[in-house]
C-alpha cells in the first residue's frame, strides 16, 4: 500500500517538477506564473496597463492575419446562405411591408411615441461631432464573453464605459481600451446589465444579457402591461448612458419576455462610439 502511495507521489512530482526531454520550463513554474498573471490582472497601474495594451494590440494584429482564411470562408458561406434564403426573405418582407403600411396610417401610435421620446431627450444634446466610427477587427465571440475588438483605442480618445452604437442602435459599451484597439462588451453578454425604459408606458427595467441574441428584462414592475413589439430604449438612469437610445423591441416566447435587438450583432462591420461623456451632457 505504502509503495503505491509512494509511486503516486513520485509520478506527481515528476509530472509537475521535472522538465522532461526538450522542455525548457517545468509545469509547476508555468502554473504558478499563470496564477501570478491572474492576480496581476486585478492590479491597475499605468506601466502594467501600457504593457497589457502593447501585448493585446500585438496579439490582435496577429489574430487578424491568421483569421483571414476563416473570415473569407465565413463570408462565402454567408453569401451562399443569403442566396438560398432570398425566396423566403421576399415573402417575409412582403408581410412586413403590409404591416408597416398599416402602421403608417395609425397616427395616434406615432404621436404617443413621439411625445415619450421627446420627454426622454430633454436633457440630451446630440452632436455628430462627438461620434467616431471604428471598424470591427475581431468578432470571435468567446463562449463566455460576447464581445468584439475594434480598431480604435486611446489614439481615438476612446475611454472605458463609452457607448457603442450600430448606426443609431445601442449594441454595447467599451470595457477595455488599448493604444490602437478597444473591446466592446455586447449587450447580449452574461455580464451586461443596462437600465432601460419600455415604451409606450415607460416601465423601467434592467436589460440583462443571457449569452443568446435575445437578452431578458429584469426588475420589471409586478403589474406591467408589456406587449410584444413594445420598443425598448436606454433609460439613462444612474447617469451611465445617455437616455433614449433605441435598443430593440419586446418579443414574447410562451409568456416569457425577451428582447429582439434592432441591430443584428453578428453582422456588424462598423461601430459608432459616442465620445461625449454623460456627465458633461448634464452640465
Amino acid at each position: 500500500m505504502e509503495t503505491s502511495r509512494e509511486d503516486i507521489g513520485i509520478a506527481i512530482r515528476s509530472a509537475f517538477l521535472s522538465k522532461g526531454t526538450q522542455q525548457k520550463f517545468s509545469l509547476l513554474a508555468l502554473i504558478l506564473l499563470s496564477i501570478v498573471l491572474l492576480f496581476v490582472e486585478t492590479i491597475e497601474i499605468k506601466p502594467l496597463n501600457y504593457l497589457r495594451s502593447f501585448l493585446k494590440d500585438s496579439i490582435y494584429r496577429g489574430s487578424i492575419a491568421v483569421s483571414l482564411p476563416s473570415k473569407a470562408l465565413k463570408s462565402v458561406m454567408f453569401t451562399v446562405e443569403n442566396h438560398m434564403n432570398i425566396y423566403k426573405q421576399n415573402i417575409e418582407l412582403r408581410k412586413n411591408n403590409a404591416l408597416l403600411k398599416e402602421k403608417i396610417y395609425d397616427p395616434s401610435f406615432l404621436i404617443l411615441e413621439n411625445e415619450q421620446l421627446r420627454k426622454l431627450l430633454v436633457d440630451q444634446e446630440t452632436s455628430s461631432n462627438n461620434m467616431i466610427s471604428s471598424r470591427v477587427m475581431i468578432d470571435k465571440k468567446s463562449p463566455y464573453l460576447n464581445s468584439f475588438v475594434i480598431n480604435g483605442g486611446r489614439n481615438k480618445k476612446i475611454k472605458n464605459g463609452m457607448i457603442a452604437l450600430d448606426g443609431k442602435y445601442f449594441v454595447g459599451r467599451i470595457v477595455d481600451v488599448n493604444f490602437f484597439s478597444s473591446r466592446v462588451l455586447l449587450i447580449t453578454d452574461l455580464n451586461s446589465r443596462i437600465p432601460v425604459v419600455i415604451e409606450p408606458k415607460g416601465y423601467h427595467a434592467i436589460m440583462a444579457g443571457n449569452g443568446t441574441p435575445n437578452p431578458i428584462l429584469e426588475y420589471l414592475p409586478k403589474n406591467h402591461n408589456i406587449k410584444a413589439g413594445n420598443k425598448v430604449f436606454t433609460s439613462g438612469k444612474e447617469g451611465i448612458f445617455s437616455p433614449g437610445i433605441p435598443i430593440g423591441k419586446i418579443k414574447m416566447v410562451s409568456e416569457q419576455i425577451f428582447l429582439s435587438l434592432f441591430s443584428d450583432i453578428n453582422q456588424i462591420t462598423f461601430i459608432n462610439i459616442n465620445l461625449e461623456n454623460i456627465k458633461k451632457q448634464k452640465k
Partner: protein, 168 residues
Amino acid sequence: MASLFKRIKLKLLNLIPLFLLFFIALDGSSVIDFKFFSINIHFILVYFWVLKQPRTLGYGYIFISGIITDVVFGLPIGVSALTLLIIAAIATYVRLVSVNISLVTDWISFIPALIIANLIYFISLFFLNYSVDYLYLLKNSVFTFISYPVLWLFFNALISLGMGKLHA
C-alpha cells in the same frame, strides 16, 4: 538527398501540432460552436499530444497559446493558460503511470482532466467577477469528451504518417 527530404518532411509533420496549437489560439477557434454542439479543441489537442508525444508540444508553447486565447477572447490573462497547463499536467501524470495506452484508457482518463480543468476555469472566473453559463460549460465538457475519439483517430493517423520517427 532523399534522406534530407525525408527529414524535412518529418520535421514539418512534427510541427503540425504546434502550428494547430497557435492557429486555433490566434484564430479564436479553440472552442467550436455548432447549433447544439460545443467542442473545446484546445483541450483535446493539448491532452493528446502531451500524452502521446510530449516532445511536439512544449509546456512553454502551451502557456503562450493560453495567453493568446485569453487576449483574443477577452478573458482575464492567465485563465486559459492555467487550464491548459492543468490538462497538460494530468496528461503527463497519466503518461507516467500508464503502461498500455489505448483509445479507451485515454478517453477515460480525459474525464478527470476535463472536470479539474473546467473547475479551475470556473473558480478563476468566479473570483474575477465574470459570469459563467454553467449549462454551457457542462454542455461543452460533455461534447468535448464525446468528440475526443474522432480527434484521437485523426491525430493517430498523423503519427502513423511518420511523426515521432525524427526523435527516435
